[in-house]
């Protein structure tokens, strides 16, 4: 389920074709080039919207993956972190005039704090117990947001003033938003790659694969996991703030929903859990696909894209549990067997 492991035969100084732990591959560079081109080139508005969402979700999926894929903390409650970030920066902007450029860090920090508390509180829980706890915690946050109308606007929602300016982090041009989201995604990708190839990353993998053995090797599993969840929550919270600045409207039913939480988990699952490129592939394939299906089948087939999504998830999990990234890896291995 992971990127190709480090081998003693790793050729340093020579480019790898496919993504691997600890190094940048040609595949990743190509993908980066494509992304830059897509942002720079003039596209029709609706395609730009798809691009913005794809980049945002790539970042969000990567954020989830740090906790879920790397640390093994499968969470079905990440929408809570997303929502905390979104509401924090928006409320600070509306009530205190604080620019979202600063507010988003505060939102991220709050989300991280919440993540830390959650992980510590659920420290002894494993497997489905942990998953259900994250679900419950997210529901608590959603219901709190729904009912604390004085702060969050409750069910009626919270609008962000659509006055375009850099200080407000509201932009007229979708290209600017696309660049913003691309920046977010690239930042998280860089962090993910750095963690993946680092000592800390390895400690996470070990604690995930066998906590007892990792502990006997000097790893403090709880600390490692809590750190991963904090980072994951922090990045998801920032994503929430960015989303708020783009969508300009928040309401708990859609922003802190179980459906959104599932999305956080499904993209990495489809793309390949535990790898850096997996969540990216998951978003790059699924997000445009859902938009395409949604616009093509529209209201009449409301839910067709999701139904397909669900069916694909079942098939992928049963027959390609390593996701798209794993399938790529196996193709590469078959290719490698041909050449020395």
């Amino acid at each position: 389920m992971d990127a190709a492991p480090l081998t003693s035969k790793r050729r340093t100084g020579r480019w790898r074709l496919l993504p691997e732990r600890g190094t940048i591959s040609l595949f990743e560079l190509l993908l980066l080039a494509i992304c830059l081109v897509l942002v720079a080139v003039p596209l029709p508005q609706y395609l730009q919207d798809v691009l913005i969402q794809t980049f945002l979700w790539a970042g969000l999926a990567l954020a989830w993956n740090i906790a879920g894929g790397f640390a093994g903390l499968i969470s079905f409650g990440h929408a809570a972190f997303f929502g905390i970030g979104a509401y924090t920066s928006s409320i600070l902007a509306a009530n205190y005039g604080l620019t979202p450029w600063i507010g988003l860090w505060i939102g991220g920090a709050l989300a991280a704090a919440f993540g830390a508390v959650l992980t510590l509180v659920c420290a002894r829980l494993r497997g489905p117990f942990f998953i259900l706890s994250t679900l419950a915690a997210a529901e608590v946050v959603r219901i709190a947001a729904l009912n604390w109308a004085a702060l969050t606007g409750g069910a009626e929602g919270f609008s962000i003033l659509p006055i375009a300016s850099i200080a407000n982090m509201v932009f007229e041009s979708k290209t600017t938003y696309a660049a913003l989201m691309l920046g977010y995604f690239l930042l998280i990708y860089a962090i993910t790659k750095a963690v993946e190839g680092s000592r800390y990353g390895y400690y996470l993998f070990a604690a995930r694969d066998d906590e007892e053995a990792a502990s006997a090797a000097g790893v403090n599993p709880l600390l490692a996991r809590t750190g991963a969840m904090c980072l994951s929550a922090f990045l998801a919270g920032i994503g929430g703030s960015l989303f708020a600045q783009y969508f300009l409207f928040l309401d708990p039913t859609h922003v802190i929903s179980p459906e959104l939480s599932f999305q956080f988990a499904l993209l990495p699952a489809l793309g390949g859990l535990g790898t850096a490129i997996g969540p990216v592939l998951g978003s790059f394939v699924i997000t445009p696909l859902s938009e395409l299906l949604r616009s093509y089948f529209g209201g009449a087939g409301a839910g067709l894209h999701l139904a397909i999504y669900g069916a694909v998830l079942v098939v992928v999990m049963l027959y390609f549990p390593s996701g798209i990234a794993g399938a790529l890896q196996r193709l590469a291995e078959r290719g490698r067997k041909g050449a020395p």
Partner: protein, 295 residues
């Protein structure tokens, strides 16, 4: 009659019905050690079935039990063969995501095929409340509670007295050992999963007169079911009944004294408190929070 007493009584009854809905989930977890994330959608499908039989065949949901329960049993067999069995020998998150995918698929197929409108079944038993001692309650609630208790007792009897029951208990305690002793564990898995599904069918027939059905109704109830199962102790049938009653009472009291929306929030907080202080649940074995099993 005091309000509190009435609230507790109503909570007790609805709690029993919630418990009935959760028994299948806890049985499946106890034996197969998996969480079926599509549990809510099983309920949704069965509720639509019961509603349809009332709407198009004029059969009231209590009579539809005869058709719905076997149908859900068969449905359970199909899902088990196609989805659960291939996932069992893989890392546990495969079955988590696979059942989640099934859940999303079922929800949206329902959305596409049926309208998103709430569908109701007209009152069956006159629509008036019964007086039961010093309390009053809708007859559907009373019947539902009675069925829940009967089901719990019946299952307990089956587990203690029949060979199948003993085989199930053996599998729960130690699947490998059971298999070595000649228990056909794969078939036990299949039967248990299908039985869990059938129990959902039964609870759907009980719940249709009381709740509206719509494509995403499963989501509301599955979270309640999870909380009940964990509270009662994963794998414990009596625990599910007890847990359900607790949840029903908590929801009833907090909805009245605080606010209906907060009612939901309170039992999630209750869930988290249980997870922190007694992860094995009320009737679970202490220390079994990693893979809760119970006799």
């Amino acid at each position: 009659m005091t309000t509190v007493g009435q609230l507790v009584f109503s909570g007790l009854l609805i709690g029993g019905i919630y418990a009935l809905m959760s028994i299948g989930l806890t049985l499946i977890f106890g034996v197969l050690r998996i969480v079926n994330f599509a549990h809510g959608e099983f309920l949704m499908v069965a509720m639509y079935g019961a509603w349809a039989m009332t709407r198009y065949l004029g059969l009231n949901p209590y009579y539809s039990i005869v058709a719905i329960v076997p149908a859900m049993f068969l449905f359970g067999i199909v899902v088990h063969r196609l989805i659960v069995m291939p996932a069992l020998d893989k890392p546990h998150l495969v079955v988590v995501f696979a059942t989640m995918g099934l859940s999303i698929l079922m929800q949206n197929v329902a959305l596409m095929a049926l309208s998103a409108d709430l569908q109701d079944v007209p009152p069956i038993l006159g629509g008036r409340s019964f007086t039961f001692g010093p309390f009053y309650a809708k007859p559907e609630l009373l019947i539902g509670f009675a069925v829940a208790v009967a089901c719990t007792l019946g299952l307990r009897f089956m587990l203690q007295a029949t060979y199948l029951g003993k085989a199930i208990r053996a599998t729960v305690q130690d699947g490998e050992a059971a298999q070595l002793m000649g228990v056909p564990v794969p078939r036990i898995f299949l039967i248990t999963f299908a039985a869990g599904s059938a129990l959902v069918g039964l609870s759907a027939c009980i719940m249709t007169p009381l709740f509206s059905v719509f494509p995403t109704v499963g989501l509301n109830f599955v979270l309640i079911a999870f909380v009940i199962v964990v509270l009662g102790g994963m794998g414990s049938i009596e625990g599910a009944l007890l847990g359900g009653i607790c949840i029903g009472i908590v929801q009833s009291l907090s909805s009245y004294y605080i606010a209906p929306a907060f009612g939901q929030m309170f039992f999630f907080m209750l869930f988290l408190l249980v997870m922190i202080f007694r992860p094995a649940g009320l009737l679970g074995r202490k220390g079994e929070a990693t893979l809760g099993i119970n006799d």
